[in-house]
C-alpha cells in the first residue's frame, strides 16, 4: 500500500518537474496562431475592425474576443481564409464594420495643404512625407488605403482615389464564362 502510494507520488513529482522544465525550455513568446492569422489579414491597418491595426485584431481573434468577419478590406476571401485556418464556419462580413470596396489610395491636394503634419501622425504605415509648414505628399505605392489621414485634416485637402489599374498595372479581365461550372 505504502509502496504504491510512494511510487505514484514519485511519478507525480517527476512528471511535474518534467512538465515544469518543458514549459520553461519550450516557451514561446508569442502565440504562433497570431502570426498565422496576421499573415492572412490585408495589413491595411485601417482599424475598421475596432482594433488599432491588423496585429491587435489577429490577437483578438486568437483569444476569440473578436469574430472573423470584422475585416472589410479582406472581404469574403479573407473571411474564408480565416475560417479555413481556424476550422470555423465562414460567415458574411459584419456590416457594422463597413463594406468591402475596391482598393483605393489617398491623394493630397498640394495646393490646399497647409503643412500641419496631422495626417503624417495619423498614417499607420508612414506613407506620408512632409514637415511642419511644408507641403505633404502621399507615397502612393505605400499607401494602404486605410483613410485614417482624412479625419484629422483641418482643410479637407485629402481625396480618396482609385488605385492605378491602367497599363502597365492593367491585367486581362476574367473571360465571359459561357459554361460556368463545367
Amino acid at each position: 500500500m505504502l509502496i504504491s502510494v510512494l511510487i505514484i507520488s514519485a511519478l507525480g513529482v517527476a512528471f511535474g518537474l518534467g512538465l515544469g522544465w518543458a514549459a520553461l525550455r519550450f516557451h514561446v513568446d508569442s502565440d504562433p496562431v497570431v502570426e498565422r492569422i496576421d499573415a492572412l489579414l490585408p495589413q491595411t491597418q485601417c482599424g475598421q475592425c475596432g482594433y488599432p491595426g491588423c496585429r491587435p485584431y489577429a490577437e483578438a481573434i486568437s483569444t476569440e474576443e473578436a469574430d472573423i468577419n470584422q475585416c472589410p478590406p479582406g472581404g469574403d476571401a479573407g473571411i474564408r481564409a480565416l475560417a479555413d485556418l481556424l476550422g470555423r464556419e465562414p460567415k458574411p462580413l459584419n456590416p457594422e464594420n463597413g463594406e468591402e470596396t475596391s482598393k483605393t489610395v489617398v491623394l493630397i491636394d498640394e495646393s490646399r495643404c497647409i503643412g500641419c503634419t496631422l495626417c503624417i501622425q495619423a498614417c499607420p504605415v508612414d506613407a506620408i512625407v512632409g514637415a511642419a509648414k511644408l507641403m505633404h505628399t502621399v507615397i502612393a505605392s505605400e499607401c494602404t488605403g486605410c483613410n485614417l489621414c482624412l479625419p484629422p485634416c483641418p482643410v479637407d485637402c485629402i481625396d480618396i482615389i482609385e488605385a492605378e489599374k491602367r497599363p502597365p498595372r492593367w491585367h486581362r479581365p476574367r473571360p465571359q464564362a459561357v459554361l460556368d461550372g463545367v
Binding site: Q43, V125, D126, R166, P168, W170, L179
Partner: protein, 530 residues
Amino acid sequence: MIAMTSTHQIELAKKAGEHTHHFHGGLRLRHNKKISCRDPVEQPPLPKLLVVPLLQHAGDIAEPLVHVGDAVLKGQQIGQCQPCAAVHSPVSGIVDAIEERSMSHPSGQPGLCVLIRPDGREQWVKINPLDDWLDASPDKLIAHMQNCGLAGLGGAVFPTHAKMRDGRDRNTHTLILNGVECEPYISCDEMLMREQPDKIILGARILRRALGAERVIIAIEDQMGAVEKALTGSAEYAESENISVVKVPTIYPEGGERQLIQVLTGLEVPAGGRPSDLGLICQNVATAAAVADAVTEGRPLIERYVTVTGNGVSHPRNFRALFGTPVSHLVDQCGGYTDDVARLVVGGPMMGYPLDSDDAPVVKASNCLLALTHTDIAAPQPEMPCIRCGECARVCPAMLLPQQLQLQIKNELWEPAQAYGLSACIECGCCDYVCPSHIPLVDWFRFGKGELRKRVLENEATELARKRFESREARLLRIKQERAGKMARRKQMLKDKSTQQDRIRASIERAENKGRTKSHKHSNGTPDDT
C-alpha cells in the same frame, strides 16, 4: 526563383545550331506571307499628326520631357523612364498636345501620348554615334542602347539594355538572333533581312561585343531561301567571324524564345529561369538592326518595319513607319480597306489583339497590322463543354495541361494553377486553335497569369505595409520609453537634495569662470584696439 543549370547543359548550349532538335507540340500553319512581300519596303509620306505613346515598352510609363507648344527635333528625347527605355520624337515639329489617347495597348485603354505636328523639315537633333564602338566598353554600349530607347522589336518590347545587362553579367557565350517569324501573315522581319542584311550583321557584332559572347547564330525558317542568300551574301557577313545562319523547320510557335532555343540546343530553358541561365541571349533581328543604327549612326529608335496585310486591305505590303503614325494612314497607303473588312488586329492571327479604332498609332511593338474580313473570322462557334480529348496538351509547346489549367483558373484555384505551371504558358494559342469545343483557353490563361502577377504584387505590398506598421509601432514605443526615462531621471534628480546642491554649485562656478575669462580676454584685448 533562379533555376540552376549544370556545366554539362552549358557545354551542350555552346553547341547550339550544330543540329536541329524538336520542341513538343506546335502546329504547321498556312503562311500567307507572300501577299505582303511583293513590293519593296517604303516609307509612307508624313502623316498630319503623330501620336507617340509614352508607354511603348514592357515596364513603367515614361515621364514626358516636353511641354505643349515646344518645338521638337527628329530624334529628340521626349520621354524618360529610368529603368525602362527612352521615347524619342519621330519627326521635327511642334508638340500639339500631351493627352490621353489610344496607344495600341492590348488593354484597349488610352494612355498618355505626345501629339506632334510635323513641320516637314525633318530636321535631326544633334546625333552622337559611338564611332569607336569596337573599343567602347560593354557598359557604354549598353547605356547607349538605353538612351536610344531600344526595346525588343519581336513584339514583347522588353527593354534591350535590361536583357543585355543580364546577359553580360552571366557569362553569355552565344547570341541568338531570332529571324524565325513563325506566325502567319507577318513578314516584316523577312523583308528586313532581305533588304538590310549588312545592318543586321553589324548589329549582331555590336550586341556580341556588349555581351562578351563568342558566337552569333542567326536563326531563320527553312522556307526563307531569299533571306539566307541575302544574309550570307552580304559584305558584312564575309568580313565577320563566328556568325552562322541556321535554318530551322517552320513549325509554329518556333519564333518563341524558349522554343527556338530548344530547337537549336535540344535544351529547355528552366521554368522560371531565363535563357541566360544557359549562357544564351535571344534578340530579334529587327532589334539588331536598330542597335546598328543607334550605335554607328546615333539614331534613336523612332521607326520600324510594319506589315500591313490580310484580306481586309486592298494591297498588302510592308512599310518603314515612324512611331506615332496612325494605322489608318498606313492602310490608306495600301489602297484602303476592302469592302468586307471586319476587324483590325495588331500582331498575327494567333497571338494578336484587336484594335478598337484605326486612329491608334504604330508603336515599338507593332510588327503587323492585320485586317481580317468577315469570312476570315467567321461567326464564332458556340463554346461547348470540354470533352477531355487531350488535343490541347498534345500541341502545347510548353508541355502544360491546358484543360486542367482552365478548370483551375475558372474556379480560381490559384495555388494548383501555379503548381501546374500556368506561368510557363507562352500564350501561343495552339490549344485554342485545336480545341474541338471552341473553348477560349488562352483568354483564361491570360486572365490567370494576370491574377498570379497581381497576387504577387499584393503580397509584396502587404509585407511592406506590415513592416512599416511594425517599425512605426516600435518607434512610437521607443519614443514613449525614452520620454518616460527622461521624466524618471528628472524626478529622481529633484528628489535627491545633495545632487541638487552640487548642481547649483557647479553652475555658479561655471558662471564665475565664464565671467573671469571674459574680463581676462577684455583686458588682453584693449592694447590691440588702441
